[in-house]
Amino acid sequence: MEKQIIITIGREFGSAGHIIAETLAKRLGINFYDRKIMDEIAKQNNISDKELAKYDEKPRSRLFSRTVNGYSNSLEDILFEMQSKFITDKADAGESFILVGRCGEKVLGDRKCHISVFVLGDKEEKISRVMDVYSLDRDKAYEMMRSHDKFRKAYHNSRCESKWGDSRTYDLCINSSKLGIETTVDLLEDYVKTRAMGMK
């Protein structure tokens, strides 16, 4: 795309938000960032990416960390700051990209080239998708989905004033169960192109 465009995508676990974001990035010919940004952060800082992964998209532990004069020693907070810096550096450099999760809509929210999307899904559809992807039985798939969403919600709401999954937080919320992955991507592509036309 000629104009800079940044799309941040929040998603429910099992809603196929990740694959939708990846496919959309390919179609638009722009970069795609997900948890792999930690590999780059780890490389930049000479840290093990496995060490960092423990603190990714997690709310800070209030019992095991403290803040003094604005200095927080929560590794979750520190990683969030590193990720936010990584993302804003990319955005400041004029790069177009899609970012999955990581409170992207808050970090990049006030930019004119920014579009925020939330992908949700019907409960049964999400469970069956988790069962397929992770080869789990229904109970385990449901438990996995429930616990991931719980963490994502806590992570998001602890760092943003707006609420995770609340339609007022995003430009567009879409239920991927209704249209399927491909058609959801089609719709998002149209939406992004229409928005891009209106961007100066």
Partner: protein, 448 residues
Amino acid sequence: MLAAQIFAIAIFVIMFVLVVMEKFEKHYITLSCGLMTIVLVFGICMRDLNAIIETLNFKSIINAGFWIGEAPESAGIDWATIIFLGGMMIMVEGMAKAGFFRWLCMLLAKSVNYKPIKLFVAFMIMSAILAMFIDSITVILFLAAVTIELAKLLEFNPIPMILSEIFCANLGGSATMCGDPPNIIIGSKLHYSFSDFLTNTGLIAGISLVVMVIYFYLIYSKEIKKQTKNVDTSKMPKPADAIKSKVGFIGSTIIFLIAVVMLITHSTTHLSVAFIGAFVAIITCIFNFKDLKEIMSKVDYKILLFFIGLFVVVGGLEQTGILEAIAEFISKVSGGNIYVMVAIIIWISAIASAFVDNIPFAATMVPIIQGLSAGNPALQATLAWTLSMGTDIGGAATPIGASANVVGTSIAGKNGYPISWGKYCKSAAPAMFIVVLMSMLIIYFRYC
């Protein structure tokens, strides 16, 4: 009285929990809880105007002894601690603005020819010495930043150095009355001087520092040595470049030296810590008149408000007799045996301070040790030094135990050197155990 006691305890517990949860800023929590203490405990339950007057303690400030001479007996808000802390903060901001701390760190690095092992030992000792006079947050703020800068240039892992600097800052803080907030509270409430601390906790801290330098050297020297590379020292940052203004630098250094001299001699000059704090603040403000707004904006007034609220809440426990009851309980458990009392106070203080803020803990414990000593000055002094070592050193054991630990680990993480609980406690928890055990044995040997 029972209702007042229940409310006083409930408010104290709520305050503690909210402080730990960090949902709201700490000073809002303690001030709100302080207000609740005044209204609910003193006003509604006790209907005692005197308790409110005693706890707010404004009358102490207008007493001449508050500034010079014999300090008046007082309970509740310890205005001397607040004025002293505020004054020292203003002085330290003046020094930081002039580039004093960065200059000192770079000068020391240059004097050891940028050799990482020598740097490691020198920074540990400097951390302890600076923390004797300046709050440990400021010490670590500059020391950790310079350590990381040098580590990147010299290509060594700064984490072992930062961890040992943090521990030594806590240790240095325990050596003097102004080194750590619990000591200011203990000294001010129980009327101990700078030299009282220096000759008692200072001695213990000095011996412990020698042991800790050896301890950290033994566990970390291999890690630092293996990463050492030869560097062109001419390319290293020059100490003089850290000085932002020569006049400001000389002025703030002189003010700092005046503060040190005043503190060391205040038992003979009879100038109170409140006087010293106010004096250094005033001369710093006069000297930095042009940049006054900038300096004042950096002063952490929130911690002062936090203290005011905290003293009122602890005053609630004091006025309702809760702390006296705790003192009686400890006395009963120990059977009046001083060895048991010392062991209980030092280990409970150390373990509690490792996990919760040591300032409210110390503020709560001071009236308890007053109760335990029952007018016996020698016993009170023994328990005061015990409490000081327990709270100051206990706080060093975990990443959340003391403010310096939080700031140090935060700076390291932000610069790409994350320090997990495991990594932190692996060296700091045994170090805490060794120093607390040593302190207990020295106290037994010297005072019991």
